[in-house]
């Protein structure tokens, strides 16, 4: 009951905010706010693989791309068939159903991709796994560059505008709640045991294979959702948004925030996105200064800005 009330309240607040936010803060800040939300989803989900399960993935942009393109193509090619079937609904509800269908497709496709990458993770460890995930992300990008139906190197344009502040932040809440509950469940303890000592975990009867793949699949599904939200907000997708540098920025977010901590991922995603925007004031030296700041943060606070500090304490994690 308490949970239902929480979600109703959250939805109500989001609807009210959605109604006024764009007029209040203007389109530029609105855009940044949306990007912060999408990056939070990506960072919190990546944190599940890298921080909680202790597997080293630097290919999150690949799952993000799979989700973005699957979701966008389902809506783009399917809307002429889906909309008439929904004609009894008002326009807004039609949009919502279309978006949700798109996000489902994105999550599903990214989840399948996550499964495919999770399998090699059974054999590979540490940096070998890292480079395979990075390679996977690049393979996806090159494939997209060669598929004409989704725009190839021209980029995929004409995606309908379906997502907005409400949807992005609704999924921010869903992601955080899911990952939080997962980490504090028996599954989460299995993930953490794999991170802390894989051999010991196996000896205690944890099916490490199953849990590693599971963490990959869940994490990539959320990346897929983030991709869908991104595509339907920007109305345009280009493979260059999904370069391995995107994965690097996501890694930066979770490490700067504090690896393994959900709060850390949220703080990291918000800070990195906002700082990169604020630094536009430095003109051409924007990324130079960002890089120096990054090096200094890691030298002076290696455990991340948030570290192991946590907002909600629930048992021992």
């Amino acid at each position: 009951m308490k949970k239902v009330l929480f979600w109703l309240a959250a939805i109500a607040i989001l609807i009210v905010t959605q109604a006024g936010i764009k007029g209040l803060i203007g389109p530029y800040y609105y855009h940044i706010l949306i990007l912060v939300g999408i990056n939070i989803i990506l960072a919190v989900s990546l944190n599940l693989i890298n921080g909680v399960t202790g597997q080293f993935s630097i290919g999150h942009a690949g799952f993000y791309a799979v989700g973005a393109y699957s979701s966008a193509s389902l809506v783009y090619y399917g809307q002429s068939a889906i909309r008439p079937a929904l004609s009894f609904l008002p326009q807004m509800a039609q949009d919502a159903v279309l978006l949700l269908l798109g996000l489902c497709a994105g999550a599903l496709a990214a989840g399948i991709a996550g499964f495919a990458v999770g399998i090699p993770s059974l054999r590979l460890r540490g940096d070998y796994l890292a480079i395979v995930t990075l390679g996977f992300g690049e393979i996806i990008r090159v494939l997209i560059l060669n598929i004409n139906a989704i725009g190839a190197s021209r980029g995929f344009s004409g995606i309908p505008l379906l997502s907005n502040f409400f949807w992005v932040y609704l999924f921010v809440f869903v992601t955080i709640a899911t990952v939080y509950n997962l980490v504090h469940s028996s599954y989460g303890r299995a993930f953490i045991s794999i991170r802390d000592d894989e051999i010991a975990a196996e000896a205690m009867g944890v099916d490490t294979t199953r849990f590693k793949v599971m963490s990959f699949v869940i994490s990539s599904m959320f990346a897929g959702v983030a991709g869908g939200l991104f595509g339907h907000f920007e109305m345009y997708l280009h493979p260059n948004s999904f370069l391995f540098t995107t994965s690097f920025y996501l890694i930066i977010m979770i490490v700067v925030g504090g690896l393994g901590s959900i709060e850390g991922a949220i703080v990291g995603a918000t800070l990195v996105t906002v700082v990169l925007e604020v630094f536009r004031g430095f003109g051409p030296f924007r990324l130079v200064n960002f890089a120096v700041l990054l090096v200094l943060v890691m030298l002076y606070r290696p455990q991340g800005l948030v570290g192991s500090w946590t907002l909600f304490r629930k048992g021992t994690a």
């Binding site: 395979v132 090159v142 490490v255 030296f285 130079v288 960002f290 090096v295 890691m298």
Partner: protein
């Protein structure tokens, strides 16, 4: 058959350049267990240093276009790249593991220079900003705010990504974002070998790479420093206990790896003269793939990996779809790692650095 042989030659010369860059990755990984993402930008730096040296009035008036000019360009760029490698190691990676004064002063100096250029685009403002930043950083450090010396491996990786970002974007400021054209420091000749036509540049690239790799092998196998490098790579703490100055050995490793990357930059610029500040990104990632392919931390493996990758890529472009070129490296990587999770040369079977 002829075109096939031609492609093999192209592939080997491309691959030997990858191998040179891969060596730096693998050596640094050996001693620090760090994927040094900044390595690809040292390669870019090497190419630019070669460009400026070759175009310098001093060199052109003294040596003209004689072969010694090419050698000076090569050695000069290698030395400057080694210097950059040392700077990176000293101010970005070392503070993460042992005490290193003036770190904050160095980075504040750079921030100061960046802030200085907001006032005016002249060197004076840049220098004033750098000086103020340096002094401020030194004072803050004097007051007791020192790096923590307890970094994690992942923290070090983020630092490496940061340094890479820094060099790429700093390079765009220092060298200009527009591409430049590397001068032809060695005149091209077409050599007819039977029915094959071989570009002399390709032979030079191959020859120089082989010489450098042989030198590296001699150094690692037969010198005291090489022995120390192998010891550090085998077990850093044990090496320290045996009285090896590990910080010094790590610095030397960085210098050698960076010099090889600088040489790689010039050799690739001989083949493809267009250079720009982001030129390192793609070859860098591929060279790293080559290092992993061969078994990371393993010198022979890096060479083999580089050659495989070079040949495969050239073949893919020559016989198949050139648009898939950038994916080839990764497909091979995934396939080989699925069969042999520790890379071709495995682990511990041969010498590591």
């Amino acid at each position: 058959m002829n075109t096939f042989l031609q492609q093999v030659i192209n592939g080997i010369s491309q691959g030997s350049a990858y191998a040179l860059i891969a060596l730096g990755y693998t050596m640094v990984y050996g001693v620090l267990r760090l994927i040094n993402f900044a390595h690809s930008d040292v390669y870019m730096f090497g190419a630019y240093m070669g460009y400026y040296l070759a175009n310098s009035a001093w060199l052109q008036s003294r040596f003209g276009t004689s072969p010694s000019a090419a050698i000076i360009v090569m050695l000069g760029a290698m030395a400057l790249s080694a210097g950059l490698g040392l700077l990176i190691e000293r101010f970005a990676y070392r503070p993460n593991r042992s005490s290193s004064p003036l770190t904050l002063a160095f980075w504040f100096g750079i921030l100061g220079a960046a802030a200085g250029q907001l006032f005016g685009e002249t060197m004076v403002w840049l220098a004033v900003g750098a000086a103020i930043g340096f002094v401020a950083g030194a004072l803050i450090e004097k007051a007791g705010l020192k790096p923590l010396k307890q970094g994690s491996r992942l923290g070090l990786l983020i630092i490496a990504i940061g340094v890479s970002l820094f060099l790429e974007n700093g390079g765009q400021q220092a060298f200009g974002a527009d591409p430049k054209f590397f001068p032809e420091i060695i005149p091209t000749k077409l050599i007819n070998a039977g029915s094959l036509k071989i570009d002399s540049q390709k032979l030079i690239v191959l020859g120089v790479s082989i010489v450098l790799m042989l030198l590296l092998n001699l150094l690692v196998k037969y010198t005291k420093t090489g022995k120390a490098m192998r010891a550090v790579s085998f077990n850093l703490d044990a090496a320290k206990l045996m009285g090896i100055n590990t910080d010094r050995i790590i610095a030397i490793t960085f210098a050698i790896g960076s010099a090889l990357a600088g040489a790689g930059g010039i050799l690739v610029a001989l083949l493809y003269p267009r250079i720009d500040p982001l030129m390192g990104v793609n070859p860098g990632i591929k060279a790293f793939v080559a290092a992993v392919l061969g078994g990371i931390g393993n010198i022979t493996g890096a060479m083999i990996g580089g050659l495989i990758l070079g040949i495969a890529e050239v073949m893919a472009v020559g016989y198949g779809q050139s648009t898939y070129r950038d994916a080839i490296a990764f497909v091979i990587l995934v396939l080989i790692l699925l069969l042999k999770p520790d890379g071709i040369m495995g682990k511990g079977s041969t010498d590591k650095v």
